[in-house]
């Protein structure tokens, strides 16, 4: 114990008996939050299923106005960011601070890259009038009366997901600052794990959004 820096020890709150109990409680709390997130997005997936069932032709036509290449790029970007998150945790376990910093920075960069691609996609749709409800003004689409339904669902699902990515970027900036402040070590890296769980869930949601929105044929 003598050769371990005091700031890198485990900060055990006095309402927990052991560090293990504190870590497990944190994980359980995070997973409970993630279940509510699954149900939050679940509502949108159910509405997607219903409207897809009712307007199958509309969905098949409208999804051609999305660029699946950009969606695929964003999928790879998010998958890579999930890898860098687990590598950051691994670096903490191995007590390699510079690797934690690099991997968290890569995660933030991937989040920003994802939002940049989303910006390109959104601005294309804004210019083409491919918008929800009464804002839909695109005249080239085969069924302009109903195509707004697809774009309503598209903007709600990707918008809520993008909002989660933005929050995730904020969380990882905070984790980066704490890493630089020497808050984490092989003794204590629970916030990295909990932030990582959130980020992975955002990744998993995109894994489902990509084929459902971009690739329906």
């Amino acid at each position: 114990m003598a050769n371990i820096n005091g700031s890198a020890l485990f900060p055990l709150a006095d309402h927990y008996a052991t560090p293990e109990q504190q870590v497990d409680s944190g994980k359980l709390g995070m997973w409970l939050f993630l279940t509510t997130e699954i149900l939050l997005f679940g509502g949108l997936f159910v509405s997607y299923a219903c409207f897809n069932y009712l307007h199958m032709d509309v969905f098949k036509e409208a999804h051609k106005y999305l660029d699946w290449r950009l969606g695929a790029v964003n999928t790879v970007v998010l998958l890579f960011s999930s890898l860098t998150v687990v590598l950051a945790i691994h670096a903490a376990q191995k007590q390699k601070k510079y690797l934690i910093v690099i991997n968290i920075a890569l995660t933030i960069a991937c989040g920003i890259a994802f939002m940049a691609v989303k910006y390109v996609e959104y601005s294309h749709k804004f210019h083409a009038g491919l918008l929800p409800g009464s804002y839909f003004t695109n005249a080239t689409i085969a069924n302009p009366d109903q195509a707004h339904i697809y774009f309503g669902i598209y903007f709600l699902m990707t918008g809520l997901h993008g909002f989660h990515v933005l929050i995730g970027i904020g969380i990882f900036v905070w984790l980066l600052l704490r890493t630089i402040k020497n808050d984490f070590s092989s003794q204590y890296y629970a916030p990295l794990e909990l932030g990582g769980l959130y980020w992975h869930l955002v990744d998993v949601i995109w894994i489902f959004l990509f084929p459902l929105l971009y690739l329906i044929s």
Binding site: E20, L34, G42, L54, H200, V204, I207, S217
Partner: protein
């Protein structure tokens, strides 16, 4: 704020980095597979194939990246709870929509006759009840429950 004591943390058990790289490369291969599969037409099965691959990818992320395979099984139970609720949430609208065709044909036979009866009932309230099973309540049988009624 609670008091915090600095103690020795749990001993970490890091996995090999190559496990994580392996999972990542599998996920990339599955993403390419998703795109390739979308070029083929499996008819009704298109969405099933896409969702099967996506579910497998999600299971890889949850099992390895989110550490569910190595953590307490209770966390997996918590996750499954939300998946069961989501399945119920999906099941009932799908049952509804997939059985609507039968209902619509039944309504097509039923509604015109029903509307005629309804119109007649509106015009001749004294002859109620016309429809079987529809009993007009007697005045002294009426019971009001709630504030403001006596």
């Amino acid at each position: 704020m609670s008091n915090v004591a600095k103690v020795l943390g749990p001993k970490p058990h890091p996995h090999s980095v190559w496990l994580y790289w392996g999972v990542f490369l599998t996920l990339i291969v599955l993403t390419i597979l998703t795109v390739m599969v979308a070029q083929h037409d499996f008819g009704e099965l298109n969405i099933v194939v896409a969702l099967l691959i996506a579910s497998f990818k999600a299971a890889l992320v949850a099992g390895f990246f989110m550490h569910l395979l190595f953590d307490s099984k209770f966390l997996s139970v918590v996750l499954c709870t939300s998946l069961v609720l989501l399945a119920l949430f999906l099941l009932f609208p799908i049952l509804d929509f997939s059985s609507r065709a039968d209902l619509d044909s039944a309504e097509a036979n039923f509604l015109p006759r029903d509307q005629e009866v309804y119109k007649y009932e509106l015009e001749h309230p004294d002859q109620l009840p016309l429809r079987p099973g529809l009993q007009q309540p007697q005045k002294d049988e009426l019971i009001f429950i709630g504030p403001g009624h006596h």
